[in-house]
Amino acid sequence: MAHPSQLGFQDAASPVMEELLHFHDHTLMIVFLISTLVLYIIMAMVTTKLTNKFILDSQEIEIIWTLLPALILILIALPSLRILYLMDEVNDPHLTVKALGHQWYWSYEYTDYNNFGFDSYMVPTQDLTPGQFRLLDVDHRMVIPTESPVRVLITADDVLHSWAVPSLGIKMDAVPGRLNQTAFIVSRPGIYYGQCSEICGANHSFMPVVVEAIPLKHFENWSTLMLENS
């Protein structure tokens, strides 16, 4: 989850997010190197007493500062496209969950075997128990098994919302009348937080997304329990 004064991404909980993290590191390093070089040149130009009023042209440096940026762009584009196609791979999900956005809560439906669904409301600040996160925790989390390909179909009941979980590298708009698909695999058990990412009215900031990933055996126990209780 997010931490105060956080600068970078949250720890990755899915393989795709790991790839995105590494790609970001790679690209940011290139950006830092270029910025440092430019800043150095600016400083050098500004702090010298030497002048040359007769520089007209120079074929060599023109070639260098044309080819080098092209090469750098290719070095950025190749990993970028690799990840793009990786995210677009055909997957064979083990489970389908539907996430429906409402004003102002999410509801989750697990209908592969039974018609099972529940609402997920944010825990109001005055009702927080010690250890719970303000504006992030919910009463019922979306539970999924670890290391299983999961398909999430996202839609909305009223206005636009957006279902986002940064540590899984997912953000998908919830559009009324449309079913948007995204898929992911959670690498490790844990609780992953996200927030609604499309302005949807007064309580847009107060409808978080919480995904709880547990081993498959426990997931089967959970779903049996939820079915019995509903």
């Binding site: 055909v90 999900p93 389908t96 592969d112 998908m172 995204t182």
Partner: protein, 86 residues
């Protein structure tokens, strides 16, 4: 042939990848399977055949479609106001 279909239905886990709907927008996938289920039922019942193979479409649309959508369409079907051609 019906053995293969029955086996597929028995081993059903969730809606598999459908190459007709490869992209992010799965609205049509849900709707098409709903239509196909009812068309299959209608066609097989008209020929006095066992509608068991139609179960596949029902499983797929149940997996994909939000319960609210299915409920609304079922009500429309009962009323006779469903817009799709079945």
């Amino acid at each position: 042939m019906s053995d293969r279909i029955n086996e597929k239905i028995q081993n059903y886990r969730t809606a598999p990848f459908d190459a007709r709907f490869p992209n992010t927008n799965q609205t049509r996938n849900c709707y098409q399977n709903y239509l196909d289920f009812h068309r299959c039922n209608k066609a097989l019942s008209a020929k006095q055949q066992d509608p068991a193979p139609c179960e596949w479409y029902r499983r797929v649309y149940t997996s994909l479609c939000p319960m609210g959508w299915v409920q609304r369409w079922d009500e429309q079907l009962e009323e006779g106001s469903f817009a799709g051609r079945i």
